[in-house]
Symmetry: C2
Subunit: 405 residues, 2 copies
């Protein structure tokens, strides 16, 4: 783990900044004014402070040195996370409430032309990106995911359902949307720890070929398949989605599209186009946006290198229109992801001392910010969660109504 | 009606073509080879014939003169309809089966750059386009629509449901997707004969402002509202969607987007953006495509001037991304429109002698082809029917699940 980008020096290694100057105070006001309506107190290392919003402040953001302050002025997208992670910025108060106030106070995202330069991920880059996040150790994820280790948005029939039940409900919802029939061949790309593939085989009697480039996840999934007697029904393949070629009745991908990158969408579309049978159908489940915008710079640097959440328009432009596919159904589960992340974050906090032992405090702070920030992104609508069901254009094997079980 | 473009001379006015030449026969083979796999017999005026497909022919297409034959070689998209309508081409056998065989034998539509030059419809053009089709006389539409006069895709809970029930079910489905609450203000643009507006007010207790630029439809709708005691709950406004300004909790448009034209989508998006309340929601119901392609030339000339069925990508690119909207739900009801058109077509045939008295035989043939061709377009996937539900980005007044009633 010594090369991992989350291993950065903490602020205690750095020099103090002395008393604040007039320039420091102007910089603090500039930072505060970028989220003018948020009821938040901003404080310097010598306790000079500025408070915004109309109501009493819900939290305090304290800069512990000048470098952190200037980092926010220079590139807040990146350095909010950098300075919080290293401890150069402290937050007193509820992190989720603070982030929600800040998100809501930000001006609406303007269309930014540089989204067009979204990162392409060739096979090597994809493998590195995936290794960075998903190979942190199964023991780590077991601390705070559900017992099935489903690391994607759950579906809560009611908000009170448990995370365990909601992940089962999500998998059943995916299977029902896909109208799985016993004996059908399912192709899954990006299968995580294999929970959906095993669920499909166990409950719906299909055979599954499931692809993933995370070595740790594939090893875990294979072992589980053997243990559960599903080794023949489910084949776990450690390979890139680009190399998929066998025919399938059903194509499914849950939580992989975010890692593909816009420039490679036509490749993914071509994979679906060449593998799906004439009356086949498929489902893409992915984090998306209402308007194109790059992923936050800090999240890309520290959490999800190479990731990009697309708009529906981008998916349809690059995956549906150039192929023979037809969109049958789209559902937006944004609030369900906010709820899922709330569960994950609380479980993570409950295990934070174990996480600190596995990694260190910087890692804990980085993941705390990532989980809280993601929850707030879904609560406020900065992110969406789309499930898109498709078939071949002109196939009349599609269900008469989506309501039918 | 004397200026109506459906009033064209019939073939009996034209000179016969004599015996077929070698050139005529080559032309006939060329026409046949464009749909080589369709089991259809093509015949010239002197009974020279060519048959395609592997199975016995399901129908015969007979050219009654050389002009009709050359018209097909020159521009089949336009002249198939022109020559059938005028009687210069006769079809023996089942028209729907024939058209389906022809659609399925056509090569997949290639992306055509000229869709970019989709027609813009300013207020005057829009009024002329709408007058052309929707002001043919309410008595005409009453002959073959359901008793509510709903001239858009129905929703059949089962394929066996009657058209009457299916139109009621469609209106209820729209209302349920919109989660109408008593007392809310609904804005409807493109309200037809007012059936949905009246249904919403009657069954869901909302007030409705409903816009339409068809004078005949608005007059009918107003009279009906008065007769049913809904004159205060529903205001029918004879005006263009561009002039809508009052705030609304719910925005709905069923079957109008096809008439807007791509260049005016941003205008429609801006109308929704400026009228919808922060926690409002809306629904667009429209005929669409999987891949961009202009509407058939004959349909544009004779049936729907200025019309264009968009892809989801085009709608999201020009109406969702430039505004503050967020897509919540999409449903494709393609097969329901095929079924709806089958009902309309059968009812139309049952009344064809009355239609011929109202207009003439050319009109009957044109509408026969339009209804049969549209049915087949939905059966084969050339056309889709999308219902898109949206809210404001970040509004958490959206339903927890779409299943909830």
């Amino acid at each position: 783990m010594h090369d991992h980008p989350l291993l950065v020096p903490t602020v205690s290694d750095r020099a103090a900044s002395g008393g604040s100057t007039m320039f420091d105070r102007l910089a603090l006001r500039s930072v505060q004014s970028s989220v003018a309506t948020a009821p938040v107190r901003f404080t310097l290392w010598d306790d000079y402070s500025v408070t915004g919003g109309a109501s009493p402040p819900i939290a305090t953001i304290k800069f512990r040195n000048r470098a952190a302050l200037l980092g926010w002025v220079w590139d807040p997208d990146l350095n909010f996370g950098e300075s919080y992670m290293s401890g150069a910025v402290d937050i007193r108060g509820d992190l989720v409430q603070l982030l929600e106030a800040v998100y809501r106070a930000l001006p609406p995202a303007r269309p930014r032309p540089w989204w067009r330069f979204a990162q392409a991920n060739d096979e090597r880059a994809a493998r590195n990106n995936v290794h960075h996040h998903y190979d942190l150790g199964n023991d780590f994820y077991r601390l705070w995911l559900d017992r099935e280790l489903v690391y994607t948005c759950a579906f809560f029939p009611t908000p009170q359902d448990t995370l365990e039940d909601a992940q089962i409900a999500k998998m059943d919802r995916v299977c029902q949307k896909l109208r799985l029939q016993p004996g059908e061949r399912v192709l899954e790309v990006g299968c995580g720890w294999g929970s959906l593939a095993l669920h499909m085989a166990r409950r719906y009697g299909v055979s599954v070929r499931a692809f993933n480039i995370s070595g740790e996840q594939i090893a875990f999934a294979r072992e589980r398949a053997e243990r559960e007697g599903l080794g023949r029904a489910v084949e776990f393949v450690e390979d890139d989605y680009r190399n998929v070629s066998s025919a399938c009745d059903v194509f499914v991908s849950v939580g992989m599209l975010e890692h593909v990158g816009l420039p490679d969408y036509p490749t993914l579309g071509a994979v679906i186009d060449r593998t799906l049978t004439p009356d086949g159908r498929g489902l893409l489940h992915f984090i998306g946006r209402d308007r194109p915008s790059p992923l936050n710079a800090w999240i890309r640097k520290r959490i999800f290198p190479g990731a990009y959440p697309p708009t529906l328009r981008e998916v349809f432009e690059h995956i549906v229109e150039p192929t023979s596919l037809s969109v049958i159904d789209v559902e937006n589960l944004r609030l369900h992801y906010a709820r899922t992340l709330d569960h994950w974050r609380r479980r993570f906090e409950d295990s934070s001392s174990q996480v600190a032992e596995m990694f260190d405090e910087t890692f804990v702070r980085a993941w705390r910010l990532y989980l809280a920030g993601s929850q707030v992104a879904f609560t406020t609508g900065a992110m969406q969660l789309f499930q898109v069901v498709f078939a071949r254009n002109g196939s009349n094997a599609i269900p008469w109504t989506r309501d039918a079980a």
